[in-house]
């Protein structure tokens, strides 16, 4: 059962890291535009300025 000495703090640290990540994402405004974020993920990249040469 000595393993608990490692596992319990480890579990708490992982949970705490999750919480910190959540609070950070909230603070940096990542939940402000959920609809837009969904579309941005699949939007095309900016088209190149010049049309690529045809091969």
């Amino acid at each position: 059962m000595e393993i608990l000495v490692i596992l319990v703090p480890l579990a708490l640290m992982l949970g705490g890291a999750g919480l910190v990540a959540f609070l950070w994402s909230l603070k940096s405004g990542q939940y402000d535009d959920l609809d837009g974020a969904a579309w941005r993920a699949i939007a095309d990249d900016e088209p190149p300025q010049e049309a690529p040469a045809k091969r």
């Binding site: 949970g15 535009d33 837009g36 699949i42 900016e46």
Partner: protein
């Protein structure tokens, strides 16, 4: 005279040498629009940020200070095909957004704590039936306490504050039993852990907070979204005024920047955005939004004009008496104050339920303790059982029963074009059994329509429409719109107060007053609609008469039929003249109507109906309706309504059709039904669980299972409020 646009009011400084503006944009629907706008605006040199928020339909722009004029962004968006307006966040919206974020933070903390405490609780539950050492169990309990206590102190704030507010005001609400339950559960668990006991309820307490916060957050988020849409609509109305900044120089400025004493120019076809007095000029003005009267009023030097009046014929100079927030006809203000003061504080279903619930539960817990002591148990065991009763009855499902339904119902209403102004509007609307409609702007559309377009040859009508484009007169604008005219007639000249004329292929065209076109003879034998404005059109010697008026909303008749089918009483109370009201009532098949009604009369009628026990829904838009909107059981306004009425109404509906009125009634009735059902489900669960708790065999495992089971059941039932609804763009 030179006109400039002034947006400096909306521009704020965002950091070193960078300026920021928010624009509300019409017609942004998809990722395509988003990319198009962002690329189009980023292409302007010196723009450092252009980001679309698709949820709120807004664009945030930043650029190097002093290099660009914000008007340029609006022009650029116009080229891309979007109408944009500068946007100023209202303080109400800021508060909603902050509250929403706070709840989400609380929810994050509570969810984190629940997961970790659960992780520690499950080994204890399984260890209790196998071979766990008491020392290990105590260690796990202490760890749980370490996580749960600070988390509950933080995440419980919304409930503790609300409960404290209620108790200080010597009432109770749903948050009082919740707070008592959570605090007792945590307190007892700490004491139990101290005494190396087998059971601790940290998991139940923190899980309860998590479930309740989910409900709170959803509710708040819906409210925030509604507020954002309302804010955009206000910006899209683009209330500006032409203010004199020099003797001959005019600047188009937002209403918020106008001060009493300023002088503004009111051109024909413009809606007045301020209250003031005419100091120069002469014109006819349409005050139907203020009084409900559709006949035009003559305005000349000294005439007071109110925000919302439409200027018809001449140009006026107006001295502003009080800017934006408007001081009104003293009579209406007084009536409104009285009505608001008398507005019975409606007690919400949830609070009524908790007022019955809390004493019963607390008495049961108390009796349980006494019962066990009398039966010979130790005080310690009796108190533990009593607290277990409180934990198991803690109104988890009860706390979710109403907010979840409310969230889903307001979402459904939102989709059918109805915005909620007040939280308890759904419950009150569901009870409405008598509807009073205002006529002007509510049953009829606020804009003018040509009524006899079908009687006129299409080619002639089109020509009239093209000629009308050269006039600023609102009636002419209606003709132009009805004819779908695009290109104005070349060389048309307007004669103020008379009409427009032009010569095409040697034939003279005239549009305007019948006398201007020599068409008085036609008026004599045509049927004259009392409400219509008559315009004549002549092409050489051919003469035609057009009748222009506010038309009924396209689906008004269907809505009246639908309301009758739901056994709801209907009547019209209008400030307009009798013939106009009578015609509308007849067209819609409404037997009960009153014309020429003053705001005081409207209130008197509502009081009379109240005496008879009717629950009145008032639907109105004019400033003269504002007091009766406040006096009625529940009230609704179209989005085109006067500011004051919109602020007073419980619900606001968008668009041209009247159908949202019926949709809102249906949605709210269904929602109330589900709220009641949910309350019964919650009570049913308690009836089953309480005897188990009283008998003292409840373990933390049973408490956790019962709590999540009942919460999920209630949430699933709430989802049934999602009806099929129509999307309004």
């Amino acid at each position: 005279m030179q006109v400039t646009r002034d947006f400096s009011h909306y521009v704020r400084t965002a950091g070193e040498g960078v300026q920021h503006i928010d624009l509300a944009v019409e017609g942004v629907h998809c990722a395509g629009c988003m990319a198009k706008i962002e690329r189009g605006l980023s292409a302007i040199p010196d723009v450092t940020l252009a980001r679309v928020n698709l949820t709120d339909r807004r664009v945030a722009l930043e650029w190097k200070a002093g290099t660009l004029d914000p008007g340029k962004f609006i022009d650029r968006l116009e080229e891309l095909g979007y109408k944009a307006y500068p946007f100023e966040t209202e303080s109400a919206e800021v508060a909603e957004v902050a509250e929403s974020r706070f709840l989400l933070r609380c929810l994050g903390v509570a969810a984190f704590a629940t997961m970790n405490v659960m992780m520690l609780s499950i080994p204890v539950w399984s260890g209790n039936v196998s071979d766990m050492l008491p020392e290990q169990r105590d260690f796990f309990h202490w760890l749980s306490a370490l996580i749960a206590l600070p988390a509950a102190a933080y995440a419980g704030q919304p409930f503790f504050r609300s409960a404290w507010r209620a108790l200080s005001a010597k009432t109770t609400n749903m948050d009082v039993p919740i707070s008592i339950g959570v605090i007792l559960a945590l307190g007892m668990s700490v004491v139990e852990t101290f005494h190396h006991a087998e059971h601790a309820y940290f998991d139940a307490a923190i899980m309860l907070l998590t479930f309740l916060l989910v409900g709170r957050f959803l509710d708040q988020n819906m409210r925030r979204r509604t507020r954002a849409v309302a804010g955009n609509l206000a910006a899209l109305k683009a209330e500006t005024a032409a203010k004199f900044v020099g003797p001959d120089e005019i600047s188009q400025v937002p209403v918020a920047t106008i001060n009493p004493g300023d002088i503004v120019l009111l051109r024909p076809g413009e809606r007045c955005a301020v209250d003031g007095t005419v100091i120069e000029g002469r014109s006819e003005i349409d005050q139907s939004l203020i009084t409900g009267e559709t006949l035009y009023v003559t305005a000349e030097q000294g005439t007071p004009v109110y925000a919302g009046s439409m200027n018809i014929s001449g140009t006026l100079r107006v001295r502003v008496s009080a800017a934006s927030e408007a001081t009104l006809l003293a009579d209406i203000t007084r009536l409104l104050d009285n009505a608001l003061a008398a507005r019975s504080r409606y007690m919400r279903l949830a609070d009524r339920a908790s007022r019955l619930y809390a004493p019963v539960v607390h008495a049961t817990a108390f009796i349980t303790i006494l019962g066990w002591v009398i039966a010979g148990a130790s005080w310690h065991d009796a108190i533990v059982t009593g607290v277990a009763v409180l934990i198991i009855t803690c109104p988890c499902a009860l706390g979710l029963a109403i907010p979840t339904v409310q969230t889903i119902a307001s979402g459904a209403m939102f989709k059918s074009g109805v915005l909620l102004n007040s939280g308890d509007a759904i419950e009150r609307l569901a009870e409405a059994d008598h509807v009073i409609f205002d006529k002007t702007g509510t049953l009829t559309l606020p804009d003018l329509e040509v009524m006899n377009a079908a009687d006129i040859p299409a080619a002639i009508f089109e020509l009239a429409g093209r000629l009308a484009l050269s006039s600023h007169h609102p009636v002419a604008a209606a003709v132009a719109q009805a004819a779908g005219a695009r290109s104005p007639v070349v060389g048309a000249t307007e004669e103020a107060g008379q009409g427009v004329r032009a010569t095409v292929d040697g034939v003279e065209l005239r549009l305007g007053r019948p006398s201007f076109c020599g068409a008085e003879a036609l008026i004599g034998n045509a049927f004259i609609d009392p409400e219509a404005s008559i315009v004549a059109f002549s092409k050489g010697s051919e003469k035609f008469v057009l009748s222009v008026r506010q038309g009924l909303r396209p689906d008004a008749q269907a809505v009246i039929v639908a309301l009758k089918a739901r056994n709801i009483g209907i009547e019209i109370l209008s400030g307009d003249r009798e013939p106009a009201v009578k015609a509308a009532a007849r067209a819609l098949g409404i037997p009960e109507w009153r014309a020429g009604v003053t705001p005081a009369d409207k209130i008197a009628r509502i009081e009379e109906l109240k005496q008879r026990g009717a629950k009145v829904l008032m639907v109105g838009d004019g400033m003269n309706d504002a007091p009766s909107l406040a006096a009625a059981h529940v009230s609704m306004s179209p989005i085109s309504a006067a500011h004051l009425s919109q602020a007073t109404a419980d619900l606001v509906f968008l668009g041209r059709p009247l159908a949202p009125v019926v949709a809102a009634i249906d949605a709210s009735r269904k929602a109330l039904h589900l709220m009641r059902q949910n309350l019964w489900l919650a009570i049913g669960y308690n009836v089953l669980a309480v005897p188990v708790a009283i008998s003292g065999v409840v373990t933390p495992l049973i408490a956790a299972a019962a709590m999540s089971g009942s919460s999920i059941l209630v949430m699933l039932n709430s989802l049934r409020a999602r009806g099929k609804s129509r999307e309004i763009a």
